[in-house]
């Protein structure tokens, strides 16, 4: 029946053009208002003669003092303005840890190991199998050497070895890419949530690379998967205070000490999803780095829902009744994540959305509040504010939920899904694998805006907005995707048959 569809199609096309027209109008309202003003001034000038202009000038009774004071005032205001502006923070470059193929964990091996270790708990094995089948992970994700043993050997020495492998590899890669000398590092921030030895991991980095004795080093532990963006926020604040400095951030999660050996279902999920990964990032506020920097940091927005008990308890590390330590995820995790995201969007929206979207949101809000209409809350179209989205690859459910809530297309969430497939949930560093994916695909152009969203225990939702400083050409010659980018994107079935 073609006739009904044609009006519908033309209606949708008409709507699209109406929308576009509205957006152009509102986003460039100042230009639209300015044009008639300028035209009228120009018209006036054309009509007045030069003599009239001179008479106008003389009537203002300017003398030297007036002129000098005005000039002085202008210079003073200009200086004050430039000095009080926040320093621009550049992301010079970053490097991700690429696990060797000898650490890969195919599904069949995962399952066989689970069957052998948990031979007395076939239900737990079945449960883990079901999670693996639907997880969205691929067959190349990596676990640390200690977890490959039957039974796993999660001792402290092995955890340190894993930390050294991941962190030093990412740091070496970063130093090589940027040409940075270890002695030039001014600020060092390391974030790793679940492994916090003494001396700290940041001390381990200082020791290995012989960093300066007056380095400002920080170690953030226990802050969950969103700690990467917390580190970025901290570095940004420090770089405001310290002129002409740079900061190295190492984001990682050490899996070795956190292998859960019990059978509580709420604690088995992390076993199936968390994998080895790490990233090292170089931030700088130096003018000289402006040219070669990849990105510029525009905003960081942090939202903490910990004041609510439900949110606070939703991701909890605890001992199960048998004494095994694991991370328990509550059943309403997705609902809490959605709430946290809504909070974060409410803050970040006004900062990034074009005026057209903000007006629409305001109208929708007014309609709901004043006229008490029970319409759904208007979700602003973030696709107009950003070209790329990096959603923390916490799990298939998280990505699906955000794709639905923000009305994103498959291409927008492709970086997140493919990172989950190739590397698994690498916690705080997953955002950097996703950025690397977008670069490897050659999609990162100068001026592109990127939104990184991370969720973490607490419950926190943190966002960072970057603007691409220079076009990054593919094919890139290093990075975690260099030998497999041609295989991606892959089709990930809903259920993988093992």
């Amino acid at each position: 029946m073609p006739t009904p569809t044609v009006p519908e199609f033309s209606k949708s096309v008409k709507l699209k053009y109406v929308k576009l027209g509205y957006q152009y109008l509102v986003n460039h309202i100042l230009t639209f208002l300015l044009i008639p003003v300028m035209l009228s001034v120009a018209l006036q000038l054309v009509h007045t003669s030069p003599d009239d202009l001179l008479a106008l000038w003389n009537s203002l009774h300017f003398n030297l003092v007036h002129v000098a004071c005005s000039l002085f005032l202008i210079v003073y205001i200009a200086t004050f303005y430039f000095l009080s502006r926040p320093r621009t923070i550049y992301l010079v470059d970053y490097a991700c840890f690429k696990p060797p193929c000898s650490l890969r964990v195919p599904f069949a091996m995962c399952l066989e190991h689970a069957r052998i270790i948990l031979s007395s708990q076939p239900k737990s094995v079945q449960f883990q199998l079901r999670i693996l089948e639907r997880s969205g992970l691929g067959e190349e994700t990596a676990l640390p050497p200690a977890i490959h043993y039957l039974p796993p050997e999660p001792n402290m020495a092995a955890a340190r070895e894993e930390a050294e492998m991941v962190i030093f590899s990412a740091m070496d890669s970063l130093l090589k890419k940027t040409g940075l000398k270890p002695k030039d590092i001014d600020i060092l921030i390391v974030n790793c949530s679940l492994f916090s030895p003494t001396p700290s991991l940041s001390a381990m980095v200082v020791n290995k690379y012989k960093l300066r004795s007056n380095i400002k080093s920080f170690n953030l532990a226990g802050m969950g998967c969103s700690a990467g963006l917390i580190s970025i926020d901290l570095a940004r604040d420090l770089l405001q205070v310290h002129p002409n400095s740079n900061a190295v951030i190492v984001s990682t999660e050490i899996i070795t000490p956190n292998c859960y050996m019990g059978n509580q279902r709420s604690m088995l999920l992390p076993n199936c999803l968390f994998r080895m990964g790490g990233a090292a990032i170089l931030l700088s506020n130096r003018w000289s780095d402006k040219r070669r920097a990849k990105f510029r940091l525009v905003h960081v927005v942090r939202t903490h829902k910990g004041a609510e008990d439900k949110a606070y308890k939703c991701v909890q590390q605890e001992e199960d009744p048998e004494g095994h330590v694991g991370i328990s995820l509550s059943i309403n995790l997705m609902a809490i994540a959605a709430e946290a995201l809504k909070s974060n969007i409410t803050t970040i929206g006004p900062l990034v959305l074009p005026a057209s979207e903000q007006l629409l949101f305001l109208f929708a809000l007014l309609r709901r509040k004043i006229f008490k209409k029970k319409t759904k809350a208007y979700v602003p179209d973030f696709k107009q504010a950003f070209e790329h989205f990096c959603i923390h690859a916490g799990g298939r459910a998280v990505i699906d939920e955000l794709q639905k809530n923000l009305q994103l297309s498959a291409e927008h969430v492709e970086a997140s899904r493919m990172t989950l497939h190739r590397f698994g949930n690498t916690s705080s560093s997953s955002l950097w694998y996703e950025m690397s994916y977008i670069e490897a695909k050659g999609r990162m152009k100068r001026g592109d805006r990127i939104w990184q969203i991370a969720f973490g225990s607490g419950f926190k939702c943190n966002s960072a907005v970057w603007k691409c400083n220079r076009t990054i050409k593919a094919p890139i010659d290093d990075g975690p995707w260099v030998d497999c980018i041609d295989r991606y994107p892959v089709y990930i079935p809903d259920v993988v048959k093992l």
Binding site: S102, P106, M109, E112, E139
Partner: protein
């Protein structure tokens, strides 16, 4: 087994799994041929001993890393068995991996080899004795054990499911590990061989006879090991080239142009000895397995060895060894097509044992066991045995560590071992 100071001889055992470094892909399967299925109840257990000079500076991670590259070429050994709807087993190449066992030994290599001379069963501690089943889904087909000795020497124990290939293939498999560790690239994985014999099979009449060289057992279901009536024990002895030539001359007479090879002479002598010491009727049939050079392609694992049956219609105990040796050499009948037909008739669901169905002589002289080179040095010694052997026993002839030397390994019922040892010492004039 515990030594006098209460610490186990082999301790600190750690298990892990190693697999191919590359993803094999979804839904890749490997179908064993009918010949492979006929051998499924047997397992090869080989131990390669390396002196400390050959492995100096090598650590377990140095061995584990290249394994991932090595197994890219043999991804089907990393799979697991499943059953098709017809019940026929096939391998799902799901990268599940090879089991890797690390262990430490309190003795030095030389001390250990001395201990083994007195008690051959000690070798069992250096290699896994796992079999396929009872859960096919979770049974590895290959297990590797690395044991470090106190002196720095090392042994590599290979536990190999015979369904994957014969001993010649297993030797090639291990040798390619040495090549990968030396940094050499292996040739691209070839298409795995389909036995050329099975290709010629036409549907045979239902009343065909069963092959004489195999025995039907079971059904064993998913636990692929046949039960024995008596416990089997293995023992071996080394032969120097001098002993070999003495023995050869003794059995075959003068060294002439039409000399009977050593293997056949050995078969004849041991056949007579077994006939002498065994209670009940003497064995009138023996199975011979040998290498078939035409059936093997480089780099491809298969069960291509020649399996033949020798029937004697005269008394073994009274026979002349030379006559018996000539019989073995000339009257062996190739049974492979019969075995394949029998398996084909049952659509791959029968359970056979080949080794030990009759007294079996296995000629492994051409197996390149000493081709596994670490740091360009070959092993100090290589010993192989077979598990899942039937009650009639098996005799293996392996190459020795030095030129001209050989190793004879016998797997016989426990109660016959002492008598055999006594008789064989007499035959070979060894102390």
């Amino acid at each position: 087994m515990v030594s006098s100071d209460e610490q186990p001889l082999v301790h600190d055992i750690r298990l892990s799994t190693v697999g191919p470094g590359r993803v094999t892909g979804q839904d890749v399967v490997h179908e064993p041929t009918n010949m492979d299925q006929a051998m499924k109840l047997h397992y090869l257990r080989g131990v390669y001993y390396f002196k400390s000079q050959a492995v100096q500076g090598l650590t377990t991670p140095n061995i584990k890393e290249p394994i991932f590259t090595w197994l890219n070429n043999f991804y089907h050994t990393c799979g697991r068995f499943r059953r098709a709807e017809s019940g026929r087993p096939y391998i799902k190449c799901n990268d599940c991996g090879v089991r890797f066992i690390e262990a430490q030994c309190v003795k030095t290599l030389d001390e250990w080899l001395e201990l083994e001379k007195d008690d051959g069963s000690l070798r069992r501690m250096l290699v896994s004795n796992q079999v396929v089943g009872p859960e096919l889904f979770f049974s590895p087909l290959v297990l590797l054990q690395i044991t470090w000795f106190k002196c720095g020497g090392m042994s590599m124990g290979l536990s190999w499911a015979h369904v994957l290939g014969d001993a010649f293939s297993a030797a090639d498999f291990m040798n390619s590990l040495g090549q990968v560790m030396a940094g050499l690239k292996l040739a691209q994985p070839l298409k795995l061989a389909q036995s050329h014999i099975s290709a010629k099979i036409s549907p045979s009449p239902p009343k065909s006879k069963d092959p004489l060289s195999v025995k039907r057992v079971g059904p064993v279901g998913d636990h692929w090991i046949a039960a024995n009536n008596s416990k089997m024990k293995a023992f071996s002895f080394n032969l120097t080239s001098t002993q070999i030539s003495h023995f050869h001359t003794k059995v075959c007479g003068q060294i002439g142009t039409n000399q009977i090879p050593f293997f056949e002479c050995l078969c004849a002598v041991i056949w007579k000895v077994v006939a002498k010491i065994r209670d009940g009727p003497e064995p009138k049939m023996v199975t011979i397995t040998k290498n078939d050079p035409h059936g093997r392609k480089n780099g491809v694992l298969s069960n291509g060895q020649l399996i033949s049956i020798v029937k004697a219609d005269f008394s073994i105990m009274e026979a002349n060894p030379k006559e018996l040796a000539e019989l073995v050499l000339n009257q062996a009948m190739d049974e492979r097509s019969t075995i394949v037909e029998a398996m084909e008739r049952d659509q791959g669901l029968s359970d056979f044992i080949v080794y030990g169905a009759n007294l079996t002589f296995v000629d492994l002289e051409e197996a390149d066991f000493y081709g596994l080179k670490l740091k360009a040095q070959k092993p100090a010694y290589v010993g192989y045995t077979i598990d899942g052997v039937g009650d009639n026993g098996v005799v293996l002839l392996l190459p020795g560590p030095n030129n001209g030397g050989k190793v004879v390994t016998l797997i016989m019922p426990e109660d016959q071992v002492l008598k055999l040892k006594f008789e064989l010492k007499k035959e070979f004039s060894i102390a």
